[in-house]
């Protein structure tokens, strides 16, 4: 570690500590302060603390997915509030299915590309994109068009199909997933951006931000075997994303997560951005037309202190384009 690196790290941890104190003080009136998961080399979200207080959650409506993100991220202080020059970023979309963008079974590829552009503009040294897909990864990466858009935007789109990419980590405080093998990019990258697509889900009821984290883990069958809702709630206990961007541009309301010809869709032109993964899912539940309490993992995650599910107590910024 040279002097510059040391100074950088010191500044980062200092800012992170400031955020902890500041954020903790504010949330004392609500639930217990959610403490960022320990993640080596990361400066958890901290830079926002330096400026004005950003809202807890931003909801944007009425535009293309890219425009929604442009407006939403600006309201959160711009991407530079999350990514500092020289940092490495991992963007984790949902690329689970060998389906085209029109089925909305995967994250909107244009949105992924735009997020990559913002990261690079903020000075990221490297932006990675991956997902441990359900269908064969090479087909999913291609059909979803995420590989193409992300590469064009300048990201490194990397496979996640080899067990060698995954390293065993512990999930502090977890009830079901105490240990699991997690993709090394999530372990090593400075910034972790979670970009799920909002869908109906036949197993979990809804898939959005927390459910998307099943794609950073090698053995997804473990989740299904050991109380799916508890496992989904546990999944964010290793490392919570620094930013969650829920793509609700086109929402699959039935027949998810894969989607069928008979699936019902709603072109909502909607997007939810939040550093709080539980709040993002609570807002996503409402967007799907349900109370957050319907989905077991949201309540379990809130109870574990991973975030806040009571939307009425959040500072929410609502934008219509």
């Amino acid at each position: 570690m040279d002097r510059r690196e040391f100074l950088k790290a010191a500044a980062a941890y200092g800012l992170g500590a400031a955020w902890l104190l500041y954020g903790g003080a504010l949330s004392a009136q609500g639930t217990a302060a959610p403490s960022p998961a320990p993640s080596p080399g990361s400066a958890p979200g901290g830079i926002r603390a330096a400026g004005a207080r950003a809202p807890d959650l931003v909801a944007v409506k009425g535009g293309e997915a890219e425009a929604l993100f442009d407006a939403g991220i600006a309201t959160l202080g711009g991407m530079s509030a999350f990514v500092r020059p020289g940092q490495s970023v991992v963007v984790k979309p949902n690329i689970g299915w060998d389906q085209g963008p029109d089925t909305a079974a995967n994250t909107n590829p244009g949105l992924v590309g735009r997020i990559v552009e913002h990261c690079l503009a903020a000075g990221a040294k490297k932006v990675y994109v991956f997902d441990n897909s359900c269908d064969t990864w090479s087909l999913c990466y291609k059909s979803s068009m995420i590989e193409r858009y992300a590469k064009e935007a300048g990201a490194a789109v990397v496979p996640a199909n080899a067990s060698g990419y995954y390293q065993e980590v512990t999930f502090p405080g977890a009830r079901a997933v105490r240990k699991a093998r997690v993709h090394e990019l999530v372990i090593e990258s400075d910034v972790f951006i979670n970009v799920p697509v909002l869908k109906h889900h036949s197993g979990a009821g809804m898939t959005a931000a927390m459910k998307n984290l099943m794609g950073i883990v090698w053995d997804r069958q473990f989740f299904h075997r050991n109380d799916l809702h508890q496992c989904i709630a546990d999944a964010c206990l290793y490392r919570k994303p620094d930013l969650n961007v829920v793509d609700a541009y086109k929402v699959m309301r039935t027949g998810g997560p894969r989607g069928y010809a008979s699936s019902v869709y709603d072109v909502a032109k909607f997007q939810i951005l939040s550093a709080d993964i539980v709040a993002a899912d609570a807002a996503a539940a409402r967007t799907l037309g349900f109370e957050p309490s319907r989905f077991g993992y949201i309540g379990k995650a809130a109870a574990a202190g991973s975030g806040r599910d009571d939307l009425s107590k959040l500072d929410i910024r609502r934008l219509s384009l």
Binding site: A59, K61, D98, Q99, Y128, C134, D135, T136, S138, L139, K142, S143, A156, V158, P159, N161, A162, S163, G164, Y165, H200, H201, S202, G203, A204, G205, Q221, F222, F223, H224, R225, N226, D227, L228, H229, Q230, R253, T254, G255, P257, R258, Y260, A261, S262, S263, V264, D266, A268, F270, A282, A283, R286, T287, L288, G289, F290, L311, I316, R318, S320
Partner: protein, 577 residues
């Protein structure tokens, strides 16, 4: 070399050493062969859909699978490339064997190594027309009667494909794994996910190829001259082809230079005779000949003596030439002994695979169905209790097994890795024929790779829309083993992965949605089977169908009946929170 001096020829000694640049035909031929072989290896060894059309194009030129296709009555269109190859062979001679045949290229490499790049000379050897004819008849009869996999024991294409897929590919991936580990030290972000290595398939694929290459190492191209069914046909064509390598006996000085480089060992220079049916048109002799007696071209030159005259002259040739080193007799004896041993070994392999019933019944008998398919050798794994599912386009196990030559191309191109070579799951006839191994993966709904590339017609080509309705197998759901029953916690992995909606979750009194199975729209892709997390036995498993059927198209109202699938209230108002 002493060999150069054994001829009592009027040729001046020094012409032998004066290497003329000569026509580049042999070099061009070698480059073309290497290129083609490289693409062939890529088609079987590399992943990625980008190689699908490459593999398809390369393999479409291969004559044995094309013959299998035609004999099985498949559309001629699928064999167009091979028909062009046959037509070209009728015109240009046996060039196929030296350019398009992957096993030919491999044998050339082995022969070059064995003959030290030409420093160990070849010598003329008699052909084995009886063996060749017997092998050809056996193969033709076998192929016509639907014993494709047995016939393919001597198919150079299937032997090569299998070897590359099951033996070379794991080796290449092992090297690539090391290389990627090294590359990571320099910042490249890549790991290689190797295919599961199947040592039995590797062994079965390697042994015959090693025998062929071993023979090539010692003796040039003996396989092509004796066992190869493609060589048998092309040999006949080469005898009459207007363009072929010809020996002008009026210019020939019987120096033996051509004979020394002829890996087919078909030039009897002492008698000034070139046996066209065994010549594989490698053109090596053209460069070696100091007098220009050898040429590639049309027509009988004025100086050519008639075939009858040449044959008459050959009768004076002693069976074993006296000047031919001491090894002459021994070598010839050794050769026949060796080929005998080789044939015995190959035959033994085939017989070892025959069922306890009778060979004929296995080769031609009724398609195996259900658990009858299992032989006592089958592994006792849980999945082995299920009948194997054949890939889409197989139509029926009987039809599939009569046409599949187990070349391994579909296994090589399958993006999900669900296709695996069978080890007696289909019985001995289907040794290494592909089946869907749902424990390994599942058939991808939007994919037709296997049937697109199948060169033998074992898998019927069809559109993606048709393939999506092919029932390769059917699922069976055992509620008592299901996670939602045993653990009383949400799961739904099966329904999540099911591409047709044949498994879907419905509301249950317990409050935890349960899977419901609808056989009519199940296509047997195995997604549910593969992902089912229940242990130790899966709650949903897929069994192959001996006769593929057609699934009903998924209905439009799959999700109208509530259950988990109920949509929330109508689309969000201005902001739903």
């Amino acid at each position: 070399m002493s060999k150069a001096t054994r001829r009592v020829s009027p040729r001046p000694r020094d012409t032998r050493d004066t290497r003329r640049p000569g026509p580049p035909a042999a070099t061009l031929r070698a480059i073309a062969s290497a290129l083609f072989a490289g693409l062939f290896v890529a088609g079987f060894a590399l992943r990625g859909s980008a190689f699908d059309p490459v593999a398809g194009a390369i393999v479409s030129t291969q004559l044995f699978p094309a013959a299998a296709r035609l004999l099985a009555g498949s559309a001629i269109a699928g064999s167009a490339a091979a028909i062009v190859v046959i037509a070209l062979s009728a015109l240009f001679g046996r060039v196929y064997c030296s350019t398009l045949c992957p096993l030919g290229a491999a044998q050339d490499a082995a022969a070059a190594a064995g003959h030290k790049g030409g420093r160990r000379p070849y010598a003329y050897a008699r052909g084995r027309p009886l063996l060749r004819a017997a092998a050809f008849v056996a193969v033709a009869v076998g192929l016509s009667l639907g014993a494709g996999s047995y016939a393919a024991i001597v198919d150079p294409y299937s032997l090569s494909g299998r070897f590359v897929r099951y033996a070379a590919r794991p080796a290449i991936q092992a090297v690539a794994g090391l290389a990627s580990a090294a590359a990571r030290a320099f910042g490249a972000y890549l790991r290689v996910a190797p295919d599961a290595f199947d040592p039995k398939a590797a062994l079965v694929a390697t042994v015959p190829v090693l025998l062929v290459l071993g023979a090539a190492f010692l003796r040039g191209r003996p396989f092509c001259d004796s066992l190869c069914p493609v060589g048998a046909v092309l040999g006949v064509l080469n005898r009459w082809a207007p363009l072929r390598v010809r020996l002008d006996d009026t210019k020939c000085v019987a120096c033996g230079a051509c004979e020394a480089v002829c890996k087919s060992r078909c030039i009897d220079s002492a008698s000034k005779v070139l046996e066209s049916d065994r010549c594989v048109s490698c053109f090596s002799c053209l460069q070696a000949c100091p007098t220009g007696a050898l040429g590639y071209g049309p027509g009988i030159k004025a100086g050519h003596s008639s075939r009858a005259a040449r044959l008459a002259r050959r009768q004076h040739r002693p069976a074993v030439r006296d000047g031919d080193e001491s090894a002459g007799l021994d070598r010839r004896a050794g050769l026949s002994r060796r080929s005998f041993l080789k044939n015995t070994a190959i035959g033994g392999l085939a017989i070892a695979g025959l069922p306890s019933r009778s060979a004929a019944a296995a080769a031609l008998g009724t398609p195996p169905s259900g658990t009858d398919v299992r032989s006592p050798l089958a592994p006792p794994a849980s999945a082995a209790r299920l009948a194997p599912a054949a890939p889409p386009g197989a139509v029926s196990l009987g039809r599939f097994l009569s046409r599949c030559t187990a070349c391994g191309l579909c296994v090589a191109r399958c993006p999900s890795g669900v296709l695996k070579p069978s080890w007696f799951r289909y019985g001995p006839r289907g040794l290494l024929a592909p089946f869907l191994d749902y424990d390994a993966s599942y058939c991808q709904y939007e994919c037709t790779s296997c049937l697109d590339v199948c060169p033998t017609g074992a898998l019927d080509r069809m559109s993606l829309a048709e393939k999506k309705l092919v029932q390769m197998g059917t699922a069976a759901l055992v509620r008592d083993k299901c996670i939602v029953v045993t653990e009383k916690t949400a799961c739904g992995a099966c329904a999540e992965h099911c591409p047709t909606g044949a498994v879907r979750m419905i509301a249950a009194p317990t409050g935890v949605p349960e899977p419901l199975f609808d056989e009519k729209i199940c296509i047997g892709c195995g997604a549910c089977h593969h992902i089912c997390p229940a242990e130790p036995d899966k709650a949903i498993t897929v069994t192959g169908k001996a006769e593929h059927a057609r699934a009903a198209a998924p209905t439009k109202d799959l999700f109208s009946s509530g259950g988990d699938g109920a949509a929330g209230e109508a689309g969000p108002e201005e902001f739903p929170f």
